[in-house]
Assembly symmetry: C2
């Protein structure tokens, strides 16, 4: 092995953080996975997808197995443009460009790759998507957490943070990462008034906004307005989307839309080439299926599943336990007063139910040398994330009962 | 838009280089693509692959559409370990680890991501794979080109470079990137004696070796010994492989094998999650197909195709034009004395045949402000790469005739 320092300083800095899921216990077989942010089994169009692949190969033969040449892979790009237009987002190809990525997550990584380094800072919602935190930690230690309330990101808190940093000559954030719609993990949605105010703040303090819209299509009542659709400057918001939550995450199809110079730079650093086969298969499926009908089924199913979870929580939980009432998405965020949800987890797993402790949705402290467990409390200590997307109503009922019992047991209720 | 500097310095440095393929003219429809490093149409098992997907979905239902849980996706990892064992490469999981990547190219990018920065240097063969050059240019300007001859990388030249850099206190290279077997673009194979000497040099001057084995399975006579199989230190060589050249590049399945600390670090930076569907589909295909028989067909077909190209070149080319005689792989490297192959290309395309000019396989100079074409000569000016893999014998005959005529025309023969 190389006797010199193996990794450059920026890589060594990233490797200080705990490995992804390092402290997350294994879910035992048979446990009910209220932890899984997976789509429902019944909503994955497996048979139709296989039929689309048959059509694809009948029509295009070996083309989708090569680097280039599949019409259906090209059509996926057109489908994404049409989808974005339906959300009020124009892709003109000049000022605003589109990049197909391996899920939303590759888009987030490429955004961080071209915009962040160890001298730069990024704003995140607290709590937020754990994979996004892992990505940002690969680039900078300066992850600034902004609290949320039931109307989403707290703009008063954001403005205080920005004003204080400016006054004290701290590095100003390069961008804010936000999931404004049916947020992961809280289920909160940023109100329309706050969306407009956020764009004003971004202009005033000159930071970009990265909008993660992974759950945008899974609305229970009203289609939400994308932040990018309100981006009057046209180059303030980078919008990141995905088929993972509506078609299947194992396909790895997502997109990023934003200012041409940023998307161009992301393309330069996107070094996995085009995933032609899977992009063509998805393009073919979307062209030949009744996607709007499928989306309608998805919305109806998850709305019912969410109603069921809220009903079960009300029935089973101790009276001081509270939770959010999402208007879409996959998740309910539960507050369990007086309980460290990280310490509760082994008891819950033992009882046969899994969830994600709130701890994981907050920027991780760099662990002390030799530490084997995370150091103490964070703002999410008493919270946990439940997902209603991947379990049947019967499993859900059983899982919520087990969780309520585990909570009562550790509290000695 | 952010009024501050949009990109950090390391990103700005990478963006100085010309965009990939920036000066490469479009191949007109109908032109014979002796340029395409694609597998042959007849060797892509389209029908069997579709049948495997049917089996996969019958057996696993929606599992391969999710993040985790597909047995076949797990089996792909076992298949890769068995494949590597057949090449003499052990993956013990402790000292040596395996990472599945989106093609070899994602492995190369992750290697560069964790080992390079602007203060570090990398050695490459000259000429070498153009995508690898693009990747390294994203991390450092210090790309040191080492010439080749018919026995592969010239170790005398490498040693001179290393000794001179050491004597003059220049930064020593972090790793050497090499395609030792059926190289792209030359078709050269590093001799066995040089393989051993290269490993000694790497130990003496303390640099790592990145072995790109994309063509290793496409041998015409003898299976080549992998550099990694000769790595007695166990942590000197990172071996990168792929199914792109034997199954289909559009599937994006590859792997990296190397020292555990490096593979671990690569995993931390690999932020596209697992490509479960395509990995499961490939795992299922490999399990249910007669892959050794398919490989035998692949070798026989490309050997015949290569023989045919060498025969056609001998028949058609002016007598001073010379070329390599590959023992495997996809490519023949042609020397056209007195002809700038970059200037020849528009004439060849006009005549209905495409190739890749030698220019593209050498580290690119950073273009002068406002330059629209590459600046002058490089060691590859009089060379061009022909691929015998993707054209039928009839097309090949026609393409070589057209190319010979275009060469004669520009030289005024």
């Amino acid at each position: 092995m190389n006797k010199r320092e193996l990794f450059p300083p920026s890589v060594r800095a990233a490797l200080q953080y705990p490995a992804p899921g390092a402290w997350m216990p294994e879910v035992p077989p048979g446990a009910i996975r209220l932890s899984a942010g997976y789509p429902d089994t019944s909503l994955i169009p497996t048979a139709e997808f296989v039929r689309s692949i048959q059509v694809l190969v009948q029509e295009e033969r070996d083309l989708p197995f090569h680097y280039l040449g599949s019409r259906y892979a090209t059509n996926l790009r057109q489908w994404a443009r049409n989808h974005l237009a339906s959300r009020g987002i124009g892709v003109d190809g000049a000022q605003t460009q589109l990049l197909i990525t391996a899920g939303a997550i590759q888009g987030l990584d490429l955004i961080a790759r071209v915009l962040l380094d160890s001298t730069r800072a990024v704003l995140v919602e607290a709590p937020t998507y754990m994979e996004a935190l892992e990505i940002f930690q690969n680039y900078t230690d300066e992850i600034i957490a902004v609290p949320m309330d039931a109307n989403g990101l707290r703009l008063d808190a954001l403005e205080q943070i920005l004003a204080a940093r400016l006054a004290t000559h701290q590095v100003m954030p390069t961008f804010l990462y936000t999931i404004p719609t049916f947020q992961n993990p809280t289920g909160y949605t940023l109100s329309d008034a706050r969306r407009r105010r956020l764009l004003h703040l971004a202009k005033r303090y000159d930071f970009l906004i990265v909008e993660d819209d992974a759950y945008g299509e899974i609305f229970f009542q009203h289609p939400p307005v994308a932040l990018k659709a309100l981006d009057e400057e046209k180059d303030r918001v980078i919008h990141v989307g995905s088929l993972s939550k509506v078609l299947g995450p194992g396909l790895r199809v997502g997109w990023s839309v934003g200012p041409a110079p940023i998307i161009d730079a992301m393309s330069v650093f996107k070094k996995d080439l085009d995933h032609t086969f899977v992009e063509a298969a998805v393009g073919c499926y979307l062209e030949h299926s009744d996607w709007p009908a499928q989306l309608a089924t998805i919305r109806t199913t998850y709305r019912a599943r969410c109603d069921e979870m809220l009903h079960l929580l009300a029935k089973s939980m101790p009276p001081d336990v509270t939770w959010t009432t999402p208007q879409g998405g996959y998740f309910v965020w539960v507050h369990v007063p007086g309980v460290d949800t990280l310490a509760l987890l082994p008891h819950a797993l033992q009882a046969g139910v899994a969830y994600i402790p709130g701890y994981y949705f907050y920027p991780a402290p760099i662990p002390a040398e030799g530490a084997v467990a995370p150091a103490g409390a964070c703002a999410g200590t008493e919270y946990l994330r439940l997902s209603f997307s991947h379990v049947s109503p019967t499993e859900m009922a059983c899982g919520i009962e087990r969780l309520a019992a585990a909570i009562r047991a550790v509290r000695g209720d």
